[in-house]
Symmetry: C2
Subunit: 189 residues, 2 copies
């Protein structure tokens, strides 16, 4: 059973629609199996409240719900208890709106868009401060990134992870891991 933290909570959302392809068109992407594993394990390691997957296609939702149940309560749960625990964090929803409703509109989550090419208007220190008092929902895009309409609607746009020589083409698995570590890690520096 999923246990929701008391306020304030941090949630992540992996978006498969609306996102862009390399020609800047709006598309729906397929769920990638390792995204689910990696981000579930990340969410559990850092004590996040929930890891949402936005996927409007019913067949995809059914397929991955089956996969999630396999690890939560099927053969996979006996094979790897740690994986079972991680998969309790995962919820598949059809839209961002459904994700916000699940968190609870009364909790007024602050929505933060992420992406390699967005204009950041909030930094990591500011976000750490904000997360002390407010519920946070971080949006991560698949494909070639979140649709502009989503980025525009978010409360903030997180400063991209800077690469060297202008290269910052991380996988969404890497980017989410780094961002959550910067946001949630106990002070190591």
């Amino acid at each position: 059973m999923r246990v929701k933290n008391k306020m304030p909570s941090i949630n992540i959302c992996l978006v498969h629609y609306p996102v862009k392809n390399q020609n800047n068109q709006i598309i729906t992407t397929s769920i990638t199996n390792l995204d689910v594993h990696d981000l579930a394990r990340l969410s559990t390691t850092y004590g996040l409240d929930c890891f949402y997957i936005v996927q409007p296609l019913n067949r995809q939702k059914e397929l991955f719900q089956e996969l999630i149940d396999y690890w939560k309560k099927g053969v996979g749960a006996n094979y790897n208890l740690h994986r079972a625990r991680a998969f309790h964090k995962v919820t598949i929803v059809a839209s961002i709106e459904e994700c916000l409703q699940d968190i609870g509109l009364d909790k007024e989550p602050i929505v933060i868009a992420t992406g390699a090419n967005i204009q950041g208007n909030i930094g990591y220190c500011q976000l750490r401060e904000l997360a002390k008092t407010r519920n946070i929902l971080l949006l991560f895009g698949t494909g070639w990134g979140l649709a502009d309409s989503l980025i525009d609607k978010a409360h903030y746009q997180l400063a991209p992870i800077a690469g060297v020589d202008g290269y910052n083409h991380l996988s969404v698995r890497s980017a989410a891991s780094i961002i959550i570590d910067r946001l949630c890690s106990k002070k190591w520096w």
Copy 2:
């Protein structure tokens, strides 16, 4: 063509042998396709010198050399130039010894073992300092982690990434991303 940085350099090495399985036996694991993509992109984003893959099985080496060449100079290079650039960082070797020889024994790289369950004897601030003057080779284990023999032979063991409630079961893709960010990121805090 791969261009090696001048000293000091940071290199990562993804080890498929010798690593442990869940029964603590020494095994050889298969290469996971997304590990190659994610860690190549990570290495390029953070300006690392080289991303080594240790794999002693010839058939695996051939298969993944073909995959790497596809992205470096095959159809993949036309499809995604960023991916081509990232794959120039990747070198497959048969052993840690071959990896050390490729870096150059005269460069005396400091070998750092990583893992969720190791006793750390160096922290992230110390490692950042060390990397200013010395060449670094970070070892990441697949399967259930690096063999004890490898951990014992390394110069240092990096403090594990701390999770909440005793859970720190990150994928190697997430762990490597977080560790490289802690080691190489420009100061954001």
